[in-house]
């Protein structure tokens, strides 16, 4: 199955939820009126877009309808599609490179899919001919190191690790040394899940950052924040606080194969200047893709 079809399939639920509701709203309407806007707003909120963002989108839509003297309800859908695509299209979505090695630090709250995403990322880059090394800097969660090692074996890349309970910054340091010694193109570092509100744990991430930057100026070149598409408005708080503490350069949105609509990325994109770089659509090695807003929105809106 081609990528586009796979993405489409994985977004079927989203499409059913959001697009079909919008279509149902529009079909049979003679005119664009306030109740139609209200209902559209509701559909967006139901997709986790958030109240503020939904209101803003509706306001822009209202303005456009007025300015362009649009009468036909049918035209609302492509308008909204364009609006959302514009929001998601801003920013540089390709990976920042540096080093070698390019150092990627993966952060996020508990259970969002960091370790799994690293397994998939390693596979993605390895299959493009890059030499990849992983660093097991989640020394806290039970069996987190074992989990990353299983992914490493599955994908065929090495993992640098210490004992459970050791200093994550020391693991990051060793991993970077090893990556340089072994002439790796890329080093991806796993970190323990942590809530963005816990400042001591956020300081730990800052320390990892500092250690990496001291050893290799410019590192980490990419700090990826993993967000679970099932998450509601709290994702915005996560993006803000992880962004402040660790200088997030990109978002990976996982679990888009479920019923979650992931609409919160529209809100995040509206508020913060952090592009979505990859999406996760399953638990397998192949289930990660670079984020392509065109495809994403097209798959979202296409029948």
């Amino acid at each position: 199955m081609g990528f586009f079809n796979r993405l489409k399939e994985s977004l079927t639920k989203t499409r059913q939820g959001l697009v079909e509701k919008i279509e149902n709203l529009i079909i049979g309407r003679q005119a664009i009126d306030e109740s139609l806007f209200d209902e559209l707003e509701e559909v967006l909120i139901g997709a986790d877009v958030g109240v503020e963002t939904a209101l803003e989108l509706m306001e822009t839509l209202r303005r456009q309808v007025k300015e362009r003297k649009i009468k036909d309800p049918e035209q609302l859908k492509p308008l909204l599609q364009d609006l959302i695509q514009d929001i998601l299209s801003t920013g540089e979505r390709s990976l920042n490179r540096g080093g070698p090695p390019t150092v990627i630090l993966v952060v996020g709250v508990n259970g969002v899919g960091k370790t799994t995403t690293i397994g998939k990322l390693a596979h993605y880059f390895k299959s493009r001919g890059e030499r990849v090394l992983l660093g097991a800097a989640d020394t806290f969660r039970a069996a987190a190191i074992d989990q990353l090692e299983i992914w490493g074996r599955r994908v065929g890349v090495d993992v640098i690790k210490h004992k459970e309970g050791s200093d994550p910054a020391a693991v990051a340091y060793d991993a970077l040394q090893a990556a340089r010694a072994r002439k790796m193109d890329m080093l991806i570092i796993d970190t323990a899940g942590r809530l963005h509100t816990k400042s001591n744990l956020m300081d730990e991430l800052k320390k990892i950052r500092r250690v990496l930057g001291r050893e290799l100026p410019g590192a980490p070149h990419e700090v990826l924040l993993v967000l679970d598409a099932t998450t509601g408005q709290n994702a915005i708080s996560q993006a803000c606080l992880f962004g402040e503490a660790t200088g997030v350069t990109g978002i990976v949105l996982t679990k888009l194969d479920g019923t979650a609509k992931g609409g919160v990325i529209i809100g995040i994109r509206q508020i913060l200047d952090i592009p979505v770089k990859f999406i996760g659509i399953g638990e397998g090695v192949e289930d990660l893709r670079p984020f392509n807003p065109q495809e994403f929105v097209a798959a979202l809106f296409e029948k």
Binding site: G111, A142, A143, C240, G258, V264
Partner: protein, 306 residues
């Protein structure tokens, strides 16, 4: 990030009061704030809709509008309705009349099932039970090891048969083993799964039929958004849930998912997870949750002033 609902309502009413008498339309205006607060807390929009309608009815029907403190009165109604919806009293685990009690943890990926299984074993042991954990997730890399490490930390036995057997076979053998070992509580960890994954959901049904658990607990991440409703509804339809555990409440999420789940399934929330440590599991308090969803830390003092 969130302005408190209480302050917002106060302000709304202050503005309105300068106009003199309050009308039904004024209450509508205030209800918009309530709606926004609930939606910002991730309460499902359909649940919000019916909730707001109900509160509005009560607010208009009473002498709220002519009172001296309409804002407080409305807040009180909102809070009471919400606390009522969350379930008035605290619910406990169903215990088997003839041990062992069998508990099954289910839920989406990464919700906190494995950690909660260990926390629950720890909590119940403090209450005099003899728990045993069962490694029933044969899919996720290192899931078994994770449970074993947690069991070891607690000194609670973990039953495992590796990942070459089906979860159903493992669970069946585990219950037999528990009986022999005189364990009176068996907690089965299962793999994370999407509620739309037919095969994986059918597996849970088979598991249920095989071990007849006394308690099926749905573990839900408190940060879950609008889909909390679909998830809880589907799990409930397929399995008949006995309770819900809301995890990761130690952050700044308002946890509106709790209200959505309660409203659509009627299933009681029994515990909340408030940290990664193995003692961070607490009984659920409906009234505290209501205040949290509304973003009203100071709500009690406000109402007292009313």
């Amino acid at each position: 990030m969130f302005e408190g609902l209480a302050e917002k309502l106060q302000e709304t009413f202050r503005k309105l009061k300068s106009k003199g008498r309050l009308t039904e339309a004024d209450v509508d205006e205030a209800m918009k704030e309530v709606r926004r607060a609930l939606l910002a807390a991730d309460v499902n929009f359909q649940v919000v809709k019916s909730f707001v309608a109900r509160v509005k009815e009560r607010a208009v029907g009473q002498d709220v509008l002519s009172s001296l403190t309409p804002a407080q009165q409305v807040i009180k109604i909102v809070r009471d309705e919400l606390a009522g919806l969350m379930g008035g009293t605290q619910s406990k685990l169903n215990l088997a009349p003839k041990p062992p009690t069998v508990v099954m943890m289910v839920g989406l990926h990464g919700a906190g099932k494995t950690t909660t299984a260990a926390k629950l074993a720890n909590l119940m042991r403090k209450q005099g039970r003899r728990p045993m954990l069962v490694a029933g997730d044969v899919y996720r890399p290192a899931a078994i090891k994770q449970l074993q490490v947690l069991g070891e930390q607690l000194g609670i036995p973990v039953f495992s048969m590796g990942d070459r057997h089906t979860p159903v076979d493992i669970a069946r053998a585990a219950v037999e083993h528990a009986v022999k070992q005189g364990r009176d509580l068996v907690i089965i960890d299962t793999a994370g799964r999407l509620e739309i994954n037919e095969e994986m959901m059918a597996e849970l049904e088979t598991l249920k039929a095989a071990v007849r658990p006394h308690e099926i607990l749905l573990v839900v991440d408190a940060m879950t958004g609008q889909v909390a409703v679909n998830i809880a509804e589907t799990f409930n339809k397929r399995l008949g849930l006995d309770g819900v555990v809301l995890t990761k409440l130690d952050g700044d999420t308002r946890g509106g998912a709790a209200l959505s789940i309660k409203a659509v399934t009627g299933c009681p929330i029994k515990f909340v997870g408030v940290g990664e440590k193995l003692d961070a599991l607490e009984p659920f308090h409906p009234d505290r949750m209501a205040d949290r969803i509304l973003g009203m830390g100071d709500v009690l003092t406000l109402i007292e002033k009313a």
